[in-house]
Every structure is written in structure tokens, then in C-alpha cells.
Symmetry: C2
Subunit: 645 residues, 2 copies
């Protein structure tokens, strides 16, 4: 869920090497002691991976690691082959990766490549050895586990399926939808384990959207229910053993765990119960906290090995890579947060709805200022959007918040249904576009314009600077009277241009830079900045290429566009999105429908699944960084010259 | 959910007029007797509306009518103003309309205009007086009711919110998602009533996807639970009274009802428990059964009034309008059913998944032939699609079935997630396009291409004849190796052309009719047939207009297209879909990106929300019938001549 964009830790970073890990895996003696030593070693390595990547989920990697370690060391394939384990929430991936590396199931050198191109993606992908399914979109895991069990039955394949869910994740309706037939079909090969660490992205589950009596809920759906301390290997082992004996029903183990388990100041139990925000859900720690955590993990590990009379673990270390220097960055989400706070004051019927992403989507100030008009819905996007629709029918002006990837897809039918009521609802969809590339394709939203673009009456808009964010929000609230999709790129960006302070007019763009040979037309800070830099480079190639900011994603004014491009031969449309359904489709529509001859359109967009990695690598992979854009423009223009010649 | 396309009843049709209805509403004496007489009168009128429309939902109109009548006569606004009632399932609309007409809340003459243009839509729309929200997409009702309560609280508006759900509808995850915060926020102003009529679209809830202990489920979510006989007014009244006294929690009344209540042979209790199909969920009855039902309703009504010593009800009557004569029709869904059955035999890993629409989506023969490879998921599209994805990972070849409107939107994120696994899953999406227009915009799928078109690797295809259906299914199963969207128009269609029996090639269309002046390019039986007829008419205007069948919706071969249009000046792209995201976008993309001069593109597509009504009226309203197409082509060509001149 939440996926904060942070900085990598600097200074010395520490990890445990392959041979030391092997030694732990092969320790003779009591299983719980072995599991404990290995799990803590994996905590250290997971922390290394996150510190180096600059983002990732510590809290739930740590809360789930004891369970995952025990499963892999002691349970999977114990009575034969074919057992599988996967995590439905998926953001505990660093912990799982660390374990699979320790077990030799993943090449060791991947430890240095979390969230890097061709490395280990932020959320699981089947392209990584050992990952049985793609997760990261919450709520799908039990459905998937059922599909696996049914396929096993059809093909006569043996094996049990273990799926881990979060507790916040249980707010997703698909979870409850999926329980019904699991019970009716008697899928006893399926064990779900709830990593009940009591916190979700923002804060306590209890505060966000309490799940009440979880055991009663699962029982009422016909499941066998166990409860265990998820950090007590003997209790856990016993619960898993009992599950295997049920034989008629699917089972769930509600495992009580501690978010951030293993590092005292990261453990949620060290927080006051009214803390507004847990700091270790996603994102890397500060360098100081990283070092404190390493010291704590290592000294506990040493104490354990000392007590067992075996050699202490040896650490490896290296200097963190130097981050590239950067100038001042524009941050659209904080700008949005300020704008939303101001709008809450001037717009009495404005209601803010959240789906467990208060910090990531910029609602903190609005919530603090006007708590009576803030509705926390939990991880329940469908419910949020339908509630918002009903509020709009009653005269409120609701603004729904989530990441673009989830809002456009999980609540797709609900957004349409609201639109059929011709009401006014604003969807503030952040984390839009290819970047950040770290979380991977479950979070990289490059099809949201397509997914909502044909909703009747909906206008989609993407501001490209902090200044334009406020104007775009005001337009959505005060100028427009229907559904609006406010698409926010969350990644900080060095923006080399200024957006002129002119009123927004539907379908009309503004010229950021003039060009006589060709024009880039695009939206959002990321690609407009790359285009600007490409245009500067292209001067060396003898080409004067302009840049046009067209914030409107599914409406383009024909009259404006045809006039804007009248003097150029080539237009390069830039979509931080797939070509299908992107803004370029609207530009193509205007050109193809025009009676007069239009310039030739070249579509630059995200091709194929979005790559996971850092910004520079991901843009380069998709041919969308300034350097690639320059090459592509030169090629297009020179090919065209050849053809003309 | 299910919405079968039937024929209107012929012969004499009967209804009860406005003054007689008013007499019943104003009857002095015992409330239950009055409610009974009015509810039965409304049954007769609802039946009239459905018989005349040729489609509509008898079963749940009848099961819910006693509850709805009691609520409106005795409960709403009893303690003040501001109470609202709506149905979440929405397909019980004919019953609700009949009641609102009886209460004078809707103009009486609407009784003759169910599912007609500017009449009463098949599912509720806020454009109709008294309809408080748009429903018909299942599972949203409780979320909406919560939004209303929260808005009431914010604005200080008094009133309770009553929402009716189906029982099959409870299979939708959004229902359970929505229960959580209703309890946490103590929304005691909210009463949900489950019309527990034991049957869903296809057959018994128990057989489809049993809901187990419903009371325990709701209780485990923190709701106050009542149970009552939904046809016993005193029991119902007492349960409603207790709900109003709860004061701290939302309440649910599980109302045991009988599907088809009021007409002996329509009542589900008259069925064997192993019947494959309940016949009165959707669609009009036969003329003979219509008359038997009328006789039964009227004679019971007479017996009741006789017993009370009041005058018998007087009926009004008229001859049913004569349906337009039609020639042989092509029916894509039965053709699909046959093709799927054959594919089940030749493809050992093919698995068929259904979401409670076996008949509507053509799975009956496959289910009968290969029950071991048929998975009934209930009304749980998200769960179905994620299960299918996991099965594909295990080497199965799953085909998921639902209506295009639900599959593309409710399971949108799940379809994407599957695609990120690069697996092979087929989505058979029927009821696609503008027609049938009767069910209304919740069911008219004119944005599905947009909603799924940008899913990486997904190919969307729309066959236009029965023969092409089999070829398209075979292509999806045997030629393609990724996700495929098989878009089926369910409405029967007189198809004036034949599709040449040539192998399908991705992105390549076929010429149905040659033309030197212009070309129609489109897909699917409905619009290609209209285009064909328009082309015949256009000969009289001196224009030779060709027709091209391009079944590929999100992939077009540039080389093929540019060659196909080389000789013409105008191309008219036809989308049985909104322009945004439709096939025309892909054509525009090719034209705009071409180095050579392309013909001018004119987009004919569905503008605005799809109109509800019969086929002829709906096509005309959207300018997509042959007559309108002819006018639009003439205008486009002559305008262009003027400009050139």
C-alpha cells in the first residue's frame, strides 16, 4: 500500500554474506533456535536492501519474517513436494527475498539490487525465481491460492498452499468475497496466515478501520480458525500442524505479530496508541536510525550465538553508493496538501475521503484542520468511491484519495456508477506514471487514463508544477461540475521550466518553449522536464524543438491544437502512460479528423510492462529520458528528410 | 445481473389504473390488509410493464414487493421527514416503479414505458423522480447508504436510510467491505434489508455459492441482526420497529422471501431443489404464462376484496403493440456456447469460470459436458478473475465469463494483475455495446475497450457473425498466448452480410463491401449491419461507400489499414463504444502517425451516457442507425466538397 519516496542511507552499509547464511541454515540442534538466528540475520539483510534502495517496507518484512522463516525451514514440502508459499500483501518482499537468498533459492548478488533494474522488484514478480505469483495489489491472495488448489486438484498435483495476508489488507472486500467458495469447496489444502501486526500504512488498524472480532468473522465464513503468537515458533508450529489435520475446511492462522519486530524502536509496541503515524511502514530509515538498528540486531544475534556456544556471525560491509547531486525539486504531493488545506477552508461542502494513504497522498493538513470533514475509509477503495458518490448526491463535494493504480482499477465500476448520476466527485490519484519505479508494476500507474478516460463526463488533468497543482485542484472543484481525475506524479522532480500563471481552459495547453522544427506535447513534471532537456540538447543537432504543456488528458481542443502545431512538421506526443488510451490518442484523433493537413505525429509512451528500478534507469529503459528522446527525435526528423528527399 | 433478451407478450395486456390504485392506497382499516392489496395490485402492474417491455425482472420484483410496499405505506417518514429507500440490486425496479406510480410519486403514463426511450429505465436512474441513486451494478448499496447517512450527519439533515440488497448480491466483496465502517461509525440510521429469496440469476444461492450462516456473518461484522418473514407484514413491521430502537449500530433485516411470490408457478418454492434454471429471474414470460399469472393475481385480489366487503378491482386493458417483423437473426451467444463446448473437447486444460450468468453468457453446454472443468464462482468477479490467473500460472487455460460491463470494471485490477504475470487467460465478455438498450447504463457496456485496452499484452476482439465467433474463440485459445478480451454483442441481429471464411490475422480486417468514395470501418453485428444498410441507401445519394469488418479493437495493422484506405477520401469509424478508447482511436493513431497523407477520419461512436430503450430508438438517439449514418455520411462528404470547392 503506502510506498514513501525516500533517500538511500549514506555511509557504511552492512550485510551477512552467503557462507555465513548457509552456516545458519545448516545449524544442528533445536529448530526454534535455528529459525530465530536465521530470521534475525534476514532482518539485517532486508534492512540493508531497503537502506541501499532508499525505499521498501521494513515494518511488515520484520513482522512476518519469523513466520516465513519457520515455514520455509520446517513446513514446506515436509510431507512431499508441491507446497507453495506467497504473500498476498507483497510489500513484505524484502524479508522474503532475504530469506530466499539465505536458502540459496535466489542468487546472492541480488541482495545489492533491490528495486533496481533487472534486480529484485519492490513487489513480487513471477520473473524472480521462487515467486509464485504477482502481488502488491491488496486483497487478491486468497483468490489466487484457491485457483492454485483447484488447478492442483484438476491436474492431480499434490501440495498445500500457504498465503500470507496483512491485517489492514482484510479491509479489502475481495478477501471476504474469496472466503465463501473456499469453504463451500472444502479447500483444506489452503492455509491463510494473517500477519496481524496491528498497523497498516498510516497507523493502527484499530484506528483506521477496526476489524473487530477477526476470529468470529472467519468462523462465520466457514473457515477453521487458529490463533498464535507469530514470533513464538513452537506456538506457530503447533497451529500449522493442527491446520494440516483439519482435512475438510480451509484454515486461517491469525498470527499476532509486532510491526517492526526485532528492532526496539521500530516495534509498534514502543509507540503510544494515539500516534498519528508509524514511521517504518515504508521508506528507508535515516542513516542514524539505520546504524542503531544494525547495532541492536547484531548485538542480539551475538548474544544468541554466544549462548549456543557457536561462532558469532561475521558481517560484510561497503560504502553506500553516492547519490547523484540534484538541484531544487518540485514536489507535487506536498503542494497538493497545501492546496487542499486552503480549499477545505473556502469550500464548506468539501469532504475528504482517504483509503489508508494520508501521508502518501497529501491529506495530513486537511485532516488536522477539518477532522469533521475527513472520512478515513481504510483500504476499501470501492466502498470509499461509492460513499463519495452518495455524498455528492446529497450536496457534498467529495475528494477521494488513493494511488492512481488502485483508484482507477479497484474502484473502476464505482467511478462509472457515480458518473452516471451526473454528480461532482474529484478523484485525487497520486503515484501516477512510471516513477517512482521502485515499487514495481503493481504501483506504477501507466494505464489509469485509459481505465477512466471514457467515463462519461469525466475530465482528467495532470498538473506539471507545484503552482499548477493548486490551479488544477481549483479547476476540479470550482470550474468543473462533473467527475474529475486529478493525476498527480508523486516523485520529486527537478523542473527546468515554469508553468505560466494563466487560467486553465479545458483542452487548451500552454507553450513552455517555442520551436520551429517540431514540438513535444506532454504533461506532468517528469516527461515535460525530460522533453525540455532534450530540446536543449537538440539545439546542438540544429533542431529547434518546442515544448507544450497540455495538462488535459482526455479532452483536447481541436481549434487550439491545430493552431499550436500549424507551423511544425513533427509532433512528438509524450505519454507517462501506455500509448493506448494516453493523451496521444486524443492528439491523433484531432489530427486524423482534421480537414487540413496535420503534422506527422510520433508517439513516445511506455511500451510493455513498466520496468522496476531507479528513475534514471527506468526512463532510459523505456526510451523516455532526455538522451533517448533526443535520439528518437533526430532519427524521426532525419528519416523524414530522407523520405522527402 | 442476468438480463435475458426476450420478446414482448402479444395479445391483450392488463393493468390497474390510477384511480383504482388510489382507492387501494387510501383504504381504511388494517394496515396489513391494505398493504397486501396494494402489493398484489403492483405485482399485476409490474407484470404488465415487463410483458410489454419484453424484458425485466419478475422474480425479485415479486419477492421484494411486500417489503417495499410496507416500507412506503407505513414506515418512511413516520417520525419526520428525510427517510429514503433504495434498492441496491436495482433489478427489482419494475416492482418499485409500480408502487411509486400507485402512490402518485411517478406520472401514471410511465407504466406504459418501461425500458423505453425517455421512459422508465431497466435499472434505477436518478433522472426518474423518486430514485435516490443509480443501481444495477451489484454490491454498492450499503456503501451508498453510508455516504447518505454521513452527509445527513454533516448537514444536520434528519432521516433514516433503508437499502435493500439481494441475497446473491451478498457474494460481492464490496458488501462485506462496506459493513466494517458502518459498524465502527455507529451508523444506526442505516437499515439494510436482505431480500432473501434464495435464488440468484441462474439458480439457488445455495447451489451457486452458498452464503452459509448469514446472521452470524452480519453479527461478526458488528451489525444488529433481525430475521423476519418478508411476506408477513406484522413480523416485518415488528423487526423494523426494533431496528429503529437500536440506536448505536447499523441493522440488517434478513427477510425470508419467495422469489416470484404471488404467482404460484413463479414461486421458487414450487421448484425442485435441483432445477438447473429458474425461469422468471429476467425476461418476459410467454403469452400463455402471462395470462395464467394475471388470472391468478386477479382472482386472489378479488377474493381478498370480497372478504373485506369492498368493491373488486377494475382492470384496464389494451392490445400489445405489434412487434416489427424481422428476418432470420444471428445470435452470437448461442454460437459461442456451441464453440465453447467444442473447445472443451479438444483443449484438455481449458477451464470455464462463471459468475452467476451461465445462460446469459453461453456456458450451459460446456458445463453439462465437462462439469469437472467448470467453476461456478457466484457473483464474485474479482475472485473469479484472480482464481483464473492462478490457474493459468499452473498451466490451465481459463475462460472467465460475465457481462462486459461488470468484467471490465469490477475485475479491472485483477485482469491487469494477471496480465503482469504474462499468462494466458481469456475473458469472454458478453452483453457488450449499446444494445440491448433495455437494462440501462449499468449494463450497456460502451467503455470496456477503454477500460481494458491498455492492459499490457491484452488483445481485444469482437466477432460480427456466428461463424466469426468460433474463429475468434479459437484464435484466443490457440493462436494468442496472452490475455484476450472476447467481446460479444448479445442482442440478436439481422446481419445482411457474410463474413468471409478467412483466418484471423491480428490487426487485419476484411472488406465486406467495396466502395470508391468512402469506407465504414467497424466491428460487431450491430453497427456493421447498420453500416451495410446505410451503404445501400447511400447508393441513392450517388456515393459508393464500402464496409470493412475490423474485429480487432486495440490493435490495428498500419500496413494493412493504410493499404485498405488508400483509394478513399473519407473513413467513417464506427464504435459500439464511446469514441474515447474505442477502435477509432487506433485508426486515428495510424492515420496521424503515417508519413503519407491519409483519408479524413470521421468518428461515429456513442456520445454521452447510453440511452435506455428499444434497439431502434436507442440507435437513432445516438445517430448510429442506418438512416442516421446515411445523413451523417452525406453531410460529411458534401461539406468536404464545399471546402474543396
Amino acid at each position: 500500500m503506502g510506498d514513501l519516496i525516500g533517500s538511500a542511507v549514506d555511509g557504511t552499509l552492512y550485510w551477512i554474506g552467503a557462507s555465513e547464511l548457509r552456516r545458519l541454515c545448516e545449524l544442528e540442534g533445536a529448530a526454534p533456535a535455528r529459525a530465530q538466528l536465521l530470521a534475525d540475520a534476514c532482518r539485517l539483510n532486508a534492512l540493508y536492501m531497503i537502506a541501499r534502495a532508499g525505499s521498501g517496507h521494513i515494518g511488515s518484512s520484520f513482522s512476518s519474517l519469523d513466520i516465513v522463516t519457520w515455514l520455509h525451514l520446517e513446513e514446506l514440502n515436509r510431507h512431499g513436494t508441491g507446497d507453495v508459499y506467497f504473500s498476498s500483501k507483497g510489500h513484505d518482499a524484502p524479508g522474503l527475498y532475504a530469506l530466499m537468498i539465505a536458502l540459496g533459492q535466489l542468487p546472492f548478488d541480488r541482495i545489492h539490487r533491490l528495486r533496481q533494474l533487472d534486480g529484485l522488484p519492490g513487489h513480487p514478480d513471477v520473473g524472480t525465481p521462487g515467486m509464485v505469483t504477482n502481488t502488491g495489489s491488496l486483497g487478491m491472495g486468497i483468490s489466487k491460492a484457491k485457483g492454485m488448489v483447484l488447478a492442483n486438484r484438476l491436474t492431480g498435483t499434490p501440495g498445500r498452499v500457504y498465503v500470507m495476508t496483512g491485517d489492514g489488507e482484510l479491509q479489502e472486500g475481495q478477501i471476504w468475497e474469496s472466503l465463501v467458495s473456499a469453504a463451500n469447496l472444502g479447500l483444506h489444502e489452503l492455509t491463510a496466515i494473517v500477519d496481524h501486526n496491528k498497523l497498516q500504512s498510516d497507523t493502527f488498524v484499530e484506528k483506521t478501520s477496526s476489524l473487530g472480532d477477526l476470529e468470529a468473522k472467519f468462523r462465520s465464513f466457514g473457515w477453521h480458525v487458529e490463533r498464535a503468537n507469530g514470533h513464538d515458533f513452537e506456538e506457530l508450529g503447533a497451529a500449522l500442524w493442527r491446520c494440516q489435520k483439519v482435512g475438510t475446511r480451509p484454515q486461517v492462522i491469525i498470527a499476532d505479530t509486532i510491526k517492526g519486530k526485532g528492532v526496539s524502536f521500530m516495534e509498534h509496541t514502543s509507540l503510544d496508541s494515539d500516534v498519528a503515524q508509524y514511521r517504518f511502514h515504508s521508506g528507508a530509515p535515516t542513516s542514524a536510525l539505520y546504524r542503531r538498528a544494525v547495532e541492536e540486531l547484531v548485538s542480539r544475534h551475538h548474544a544468541q550465538t554466544d549462548a549456543l556456544g557457536i561462532p558469532r556471525i561475521q558481517l560484510e560491509q561497503a560504502q553506500a553508493p553516492q547519490p547523484a547531486a540534484s538541484g531544487p525539486q518540485q514536489k507535487l504531493v506536498p503542494a497538493y496538501a497545501k492546496a487542499l488545506e486552503r480549499e477545505m477552508e473556502r469550500t464548506a461542502n468539501l469532504v475528504v475521503l482517504d483509503a489508508d494513504l494520508v501521508v502518501d497522498t497529501g491529506q495530513m493538513p486537511a485532516r488536522e484542520r477539518r477532522p469533521e470533514r475527513f472520512v478515513e475509509c481504510g483500504i476499501a477503495e470501492m466502498d470509499m468511491v461509492s460513499m463519495a458518490g452518495a455524498m455528492a448526491l446529497q450536496g457534498m463535494l467529495p475528494v477521494c484519495h488513493s494511488f492512481a493504480c488502485f483508484l482507477s482499477t479497484r474502484a473502476n465500476e464505482q467511478i462509472y456508477n457515480n458518473a452516471t448520476e451526473r454528480t461532482h466527485v474529484v478523484y485525487a490519484a497520486s503515484l501516477a506514471g512510471l516513477l517512482p519505479g521502485g515499487p514495481g508494476h503493481s504501483h506504477q500507474s501507466v494505464r489509469d487514463i485509459s481505465a477512466v478516460g471514457a467515463v462519461a463526463g469525466l475530465v482528467a488533468i495532470s498538473p506539471s508544477t507545484e503552482a499548477e497543482v493548486a490551479r488544477a485542484l481549483a479547476w476540479c472543484l470550482h470550474e468543473h461540475r462533473g467527475p474529475a481525475w486529478l493525476r498527480l506524479e508523486s516523485v520529486p522532480c527537478e523542473v527546468p521550466f515554469e508553468s505560466p500563471d494563466i487560467p486553465l481552459e479545458l483542452g487548451v495547453g500552454s507553450v513552455l518553449r517555442k520551436g520551429v522544427d517540431a514540438l513535444f506535447i506532454g504533461y506532468g513534471p517528469t516527461l515535460l522536464s525530460e522533453a525540455w532537456r532534450a530540446a536543449e540538447l537538440l539545439v546542438e543537432d540544429g533542431l529547434q524543438v518546442g515544448v507544450v504543456n497540455l495538462p488535459w488528458l482526455n479532452h483536447v481542443s481541436s481549434a487550439w491544437l491545430l493552431k499550436a502545431v500549424a507551423a511544425v512538421k513533427h509532433v512528438f506526443s509524450l505519454d507517462n502512460h501506455h500509448a493506448v488510451g494516453g493523451q496521444g490518442d486524443r492528439i491523433a484523433d484531432v489530427f486524423a479528423s482534421s480537414a487540413a493537413r496535420s503534422p506527422r505525429l510520433h508517439r513516445f509512451a511506455v511500451d510493455g510492462l513498466p520496468a522496476c528500478g531507479n528513475a534514471r534507469d527506468v526512463l532510459r529503459r523505456h526510451g523516455l529520458d532526455a538522451w533517448s528522446l533526443r535520439q528518437r527525435v533526430v532519427q524521426a526528423c532525419s528519416l523524414s528528410v530522407d523520405l522527402a528527399g
